[in-house]
């Protein structure tokens, strides 16, 4: 242990010397070797981040196309809620937080987590503190389980690896309905796609069967049989689908940007290290020359 510590101290002490005229001893050679190794690893990292960026770019194009259709689907779906708003604001809301399992994509997961925390922290929203939370995606689950471990009732993963399908959304909706969790209204917290470089958290409201039945606006609609329950369940699946595809597009764009930044940082680092390495090499050569010349003149 102490040896390890000593070597670290030694390295730290040796590093600044490289910039100045380093003495031509074994220590200097080792530092040069170290810089070379470091350069190599940073170059490899740059290669990885660059290719990850390329992958995210192609995936983003696909995800954006899917989002366009999914968004329209969501708009058409929420039309009925706009015409039939709930009579009174719900007290016990079910929060469905939509993120994904994978990292390396900037603040996409903390964006939805923060939005959820903000709603819970806001006293004026009138939401019960023990309102249930369900999370799609492991990353936000980890974040929310630290803040609201008691509210977390159900989590989903393995969704959003590829472009989400309707059956994913239907499966989630089915499990939510079957879970027997009590709530008056549903709020889906997801990332809204603003542009290819930005996103923001947003909340999509979905009304439950009860809320729809009590809404005065909903009474204007004519129905042959009572299909409110079916409509509410179908709407939930649709809304989850719309949130999933939009969140997926945001994730891909965020990943692309994060990888772009990482590649830029890596190339900055490479140029810095290259400079340091060249300087060190030059200094070592000069020192060797000085040694040879002084040796020769001493004869």
């Amino acid at each position: 242990m102490s040896m390890l510590a000593r070597s670290t101290v030694g390295r730290m002490a040796a590093q600044p010397k490289v910039l100045g005229a380093a003495p031509a001893n074994a220590r200097n050679m080792a530092t040069l070797r170290e810089i070379e190794l470091r350069l190599k690893s940073v170059r490899n990292i740059e290669k990885i981040t660059k290719s990850m960026k390329m992958i995210a770019s192609t995936k983003l194009a696909k995800a954006q196309r899917a989002m366009q259709a999914g968004k329209q689907y969501g708009v058409a779906n929420s039309e009925v809620f706009q015409n039939a708003p709930a009579e009174e604001p719900a007290k016990r809301k079910l929060f469905i937080v939509v993120s994904s399992d994978k990292g390396l994509c900037g603040g996409i997961h903390s964006s939805v987590t923060k939005a959820t925390r903000r709603i819970f922290a806001d006293k004026e929203s009138g939401i019960e503190t023990d309102s249930p939370i369900m999370v799609i995606g492991d990353k936000s689950k980890a974040q929310l389980s630290r803040v609201h471990p008691k509210n977390l009732v159900m989590t989903f993963n393995q969704i959003g690896r590829d472009i989400p399908t309707f059956s994913d959304a239907a499966g989630v909706a089915d499990l939510i309905i079957k879970s027997g969790v009590k709530y008056d209204s549903i709020a889906i917290v997801y990332n809204k796609f603003v542009s290819a470089i930005s996103y923001e958290s947003a909340v999509m409201e979905v009304e439950t069967e009860e809320a729809l039945k009590n809404s005065p606006g909903f009474k204007a609609y004519e129905m042959e049989d009572d299909v409110t329950k079916d409509l509410a369940e179908f709407s939930l699946a649709n809304a989850i689908y719309a949130a999933l595809v939009e969140g997926h597009a945001c994730e891909q764009s965020a990943r692309r940007n994060a990888m772009d930044n990482a590649s830029k940082n890596a190339s900055d680092m490479i140029s810095k290290l290259q400079m340091q390495y060249n300087r060190g090499r030059q200094a070592a050569i000069t020192n060797e020359l000085v040694d040879i010349i002084t040796g020769a003149s001493a004869l």
Binding site: V80, N83, T165, Y221, L231, F234, N238
Partner: protein, 166 residues
């Protein structure tokens, strides 16, 4: 088929007085804004159309402008959209919901829809095969499995309707 649609249309438009009260603005458009959307594709987005004929679970119905707000669950069948004049387009849709909104908007959300023009004869041949299987004396479950495999659709009878209207 079309007479039936018209009949049901007139029936639906019966409470016209009430409807005109709702839409008190001066010019009443004779077109309805249709959004026919699938999860992976939007066929129509707030497009002005003249008439839409759907197969709801309870009956077939035609929807024109100034229709009473209503919610109709769709069963697998054909949706016909008449955009202008007598030009009509048909889609075979899986189940979903049709909602007529008070502001003269019509939204149809279905999980899957295929234009009837895209049905090829290969599908027709598969359908014949599926019908043969249906007529055979296998167990129900086996039949369903075979049929959904060969025809690619869930409901054979509605598929037939689709083929007839084609």
């Amino acid at each position: 088929m079309s007479t039936l649609c018209l009949l049901s249309t007139t029936a639906r438009r019966a409470p016209k007085l009430l409807v005109s009260q709702c839409h008190s603005h001066a010019e009443v458009s004779d077109k309805i804004k249709l959004s026919l959307v699938l999860p992976h594709q939007s066929i129509f987005t707030s497009t002005d159309v003249i008439e839409v004929n759907i197969t709801a679970t309870t009956r077939d119905m035609g929807i024109l402008a100034n229709h009473v707000p209503s919610i109709e669950p769709l069963c697998p069948g054909v949706v016909e959209v008449i955009e202008s004049g007598s030009v009509s387009k048909k889609w075979f849709v899986s189940g979903g919901f049709t909602t007529v909104h008070p502001n003269d908007k019509l939204t149809i959300g279905v999980v899957e829809a295929v234009s009837l023009e895209d049905f090829s004869w290969a599908v027709h041949m598969n359908l014949q095969e599926a019908l043969k299987v249906a007529a055979g004396n296998r167990s129900e479950e086996d039949k369903m499995d075979k049929m959904s495999h060969s025809s690619g659709v869930e409901s054979i009878s509605t598929m037939q309707i689709g083929m007839i209207t084609l």
